[in-house]
Amino acid sequence: MNFVNSVDDLAGRVGDGALVAMPPEYSWVSMAMTRALIAKGVRDLHVLCVPIGGMAVDMLVGAGCVGTLEAAAVSLGEAGLAPRFTAAIQDAAIEMRDSTCPAVHAGLQASEKGVPFMPLGGLIGSDIEKYRADWTVVDDPTGRGQGPIVLIPAIRPDFAVFHSPRADRDGNVWIGKRRELMTMAHAARDTLVTVEEVVDDDFLADDTLAAGTLPNLYVSGVAEARAGAWPLALKGSYDADRAEISRYAAEARTEPGFEAYLEGALAAARPDAAE
């Protein structure tokens, strides 16, 4: 049912200004969609990192696609600081909403449950809380004298976007133990997924596979994209291409270097990376 012809078709649904949730680098980022969104020239995205961003977010920022960024952190991991993110913040080129990991999860869980907010411990006295005008500190509203607590408003992404090793013939998507992908999809209005392959199976008919499956009920569109996480890892399928990530980290230190890298990345698909 939810299948589309190409990653570009999927990216075509994401309009300027959309709130897009993306997973962390250890959890199946769709680099294929990232490239397609950049190629399409989407603008003013509000990107929500769930909860940490990496190369995909850095590329989107560098390509001028991002207006607002909400994240607990953005980093290339072992490859160092995220260069275009760092530059954009230092130049005040994007609006940054500094968050902390559990607050991102809590905001998505509020949308998942259809409630306007979720309480969260900690945070009080941090500058993160101080600068988040959308968070509310209240004295224990149950009147039990448990002290002040922060209320995190529901975050409802327009799109959750990620990659997965496989979907079945009905568009049910394997997420394994990457449950943040399920929360993202529950919270988002639409979920767009690229997959290594669509397999002729019914994941929901097998109780073992069902345990790690996002049902198509929450999936708006699926497109095949071989090596769709490349150069990031797709755990269980392929490792990270560390040389490529390091090359990016080095070249993207300057804006011309980033532009040159981007031109190459958009020109060359890498269908062989999964092998």
Partner: protein, 257 residues
């Protein structure tokens, strides 16, 4: 027996875990090979007392409920020790992971770092947070952080079962007293001095008249590290294991999903 600076820090961390029977479960965040090695070493020397959970680790990673589980788990009171660092750390144990600002302060940023990760939460709920920041300079240990990713102490009305207890650097081990809101020098690593520490610390701290020297890594612990722990931590941090322990680790075989 000669040792590398990383091996000293690993044994310092391991002792903080070994000596405290309340430490039943230690969680280690991403990109933390030295704390990770310290936990695995303590687990070995205590006959398995602290459970070690290494987030995103190829082994010792028990999490199956997604990225939020580590925070939920800490909120449930099931994590006794966690490690945090800081671009800046001040004398009240406030930590800054966001970056340095100009005179106007945040949101103006002079030098941006990745961000606060889960610190603003974990610092409140984990009873024994160990601050780990090898670089001991006035650039790091400042009078006042430019941005508080997580505060070192809280007002009495704030529910805060957790907070900072120790600070481990390349020069020394300090403890933190949240009532006094001050660090106290506990031991100085071999080859360093109180003066050197004062010169490189941008805040005042307490120190006894005679501060002990940090014990060197014992041969038995070094042996464990190099022959057992190195291989285990190498499953998650192969580069670290190769550099520090000279161990080339084969990627752990895991069944693909």
């Amino acid at each position: 027996m000669s040792y590398r600076p990383e091996e000293l820090l690993i044994t310092v961390i391991a002792r903080l875990l070994e000596d405290d029977p309340a430490v039943r479960h230690v969680a280690v965040g991403a990109a933390s090979p030295i704390p990770g090695s310290g936990v695995l070493l303590a687990r070995e020397t205590t006959g398995g007392r602290p459970r070690a959970s290494i987030i995103h680790g190829e082994s010792n990673n028990p999490f199956t409920d997604g990225a939020r589980e580590i925070f939920d788990c800490a909120g449930q009171g099931r994590i006794d020790v966690f490690f945090l660092g800081g671009v800046q750390i001040d004398g009240e144990a406030n930590i800054n992971l966001v970056g340095t600002t100009g005179a106007g302060g945040y949101p103006e940023i002079e030098r941006r770092f990745p961000g606060s990760f889960g610190s603003a939460y974990m610092y409140f709920v984990v009873p024994k947070v160990i601050l780990f920041r090898p670089e001991h300079t006035r650039r790091v240990f400042v009078p006042k952080v430019d941005f508080i990713s997580a505060p070192g102490v809280s007002d009495p009305g704030v529910h805060r079962p957790g907070g900072p207890k120790f600070l481990v650097t390349e020069l020394c081990l300090m403890s933190f007293n949240s009532d006094a809101r001050r660090f106290r020098l506990e031991s100085i690593h071999p080859g360093h001095s109180l003066d050197e520490i004062r010169d490189n610390t941008g805040f005042d701290f307490d120190a006894a008249d005679h501060v002990p020297v940090t014990p060197e890594p014992e041969p038995a612990r070094l042996d464990l590290l190099r022959n057992k722990i190195g291989k285990e931590i190498g499953a998650t941090y192969p580069g670290f294991a190769a550099e520090v322990f000279g161990i080339e680790v084969e990627k752990t075989e895991r069944k693909a999903s």
